[in-house]
């Protein structure tokens, strides 16, 4: 709920406020990097941890396959499905 409200507020604010406030280059630069760092951190956390423990398991294989799929320019659904399939396979054999 909180997320919905906050994300909507941002979208609405953007529609409403005048342009020049946020057009500072430094701000734009930071804003361009925010999604990169957060998404990257999420990849690390989701793949290599359980609660507050680091670990390498079947998910790492899935991520590796996803990386390979992206390098081969596979579309998004293929990336996700191939990662899930390879991870599930390893999960069953360990």
């Amino acid at each position: 709920m909180g997320t919905s409200a906050a994300v909507f507020a941002l979208k609405y604010l953007g529609q409403s406020i005048p342009e020049n406030y946020l057009s500072h280059p430094k701000f734009k630069s930071i804003n361009g990097y925010i999604p990169i760092v957060l998404l990257s951190a999420l990849i690390g956390v989701q793949t290599f941890s359980e609660k507050t423990k680091l670990m390498i398991d079947h998910r790492a294989l899935g991520l590796g396959v996803a990386l390979l799929a992206l390098m081969l320019r596979a579309p998004f659904p293929i990336v996700v499905i191939s990662a899930a399939a390879s991870s599930a396979l390893l999960y069953h054999f360990t």
Partner: protein, 233 residues
């Protein structure tokens, strides 16, 4: 999505652009629906996230952080930072749409990567085409995203143990798919790897959820150091 130069033509083309983007992107909603169930959310919660938040990366972040045991606060903070760019899209779209009142609320809700992208790609066809591209894509993605979310959620619920179906790996793979197109320059790639490293170092020594949001500091530091060139948006 990327603008290939097209001859000045009729409405049908704008409609087709909008529809194909809506269907393609909307279908990713199935991945979100499935991942959300895997992270422990109910079907209703999953659907509400898609209906009300309606911002792919932010939604994945919420289930990612909460699923990893993080607090609601860190989930909201991460999702909000990720949703920030929608506000910037709004800045770009507002002068074009010129809407007030309820329509502005509606326009704000469907201001996302895709609606903004399609609107901008119609530039050569004039403002009318840009406006219809925005609305058709925004509303189209909204409809398909929510339908596919529901389908993915029910599908995952029927499957049972998420790890047995690889759903626990599908989430980071989805993040990788989302970040991949943004890694254009060497700096981008360096920052991405640095963020992964920082998060991993923080995992054993900080409460869940914090390692992710802490990497925002990395973006600020590097963004401030950067002199002139503006990264892609």
């Amino acid at each position: 999505m990327s603008a290939t130069p097209r001859p000045p033509s009729y409405r049908g083309q704008t409609f087709r652009d909008s529809l194909s983007v809506s269907l393609t992107v909307g279908s990713y909603g199935a991945a979100f629906g499935a991942a959300s169930i895997a992270a422990g959310f109910s079907v209703v919660q999953t659907s509400l996230l898609s209906l009300l938040t309606f911002s792919g990366a932010s939604q994945f972040a919420v289930i990612g952080v909460i699923g990893a045991g993080g607090s609601a606060i860190s989930a909201i903070a991460t999702a909000t930072l990720l949703g920030f760019r929608n506000g910037l899209y709004g800045l770009r779209m507002a002068p074009l749409l010129k809407v007030r009142g309820l329509s502005r609320v509606l326009a704000a809700h469907v201001t996302i990567d895709e609606s903004t992208g399609v609107a901008l790609s119609q530039e050569s066809r004039g403002e009318e085409a840009m406006r219809s591209g925005f609305w058709l894509t925004g509303i189209g993605v909204f409809i398909f995203w929510n339908l596919f979310t529901l389908a993915g959620a029910f599908g995952a619920q029927a499957m049972g143990n998420p790890a047995a179906w690889g759903l626990d790996a599908a989430v980071p793979a989805a993040f990788l798919g989302l970040v991949w197109p943004r890694l254009v320059t060497n700096t981008d790639r360096f920052i991405s790897l640095a963020a992964v490293a920082l998060a991993l170092v923080l995992i054993p020594i900080s409460p869940a959820g914090l390692p992710v949001i802490a990497t925002a500091g990395l973006a600020v530091v590097i963004g401030l150091r950067k002199k002139d060139s503006i990264p892609h948006e």
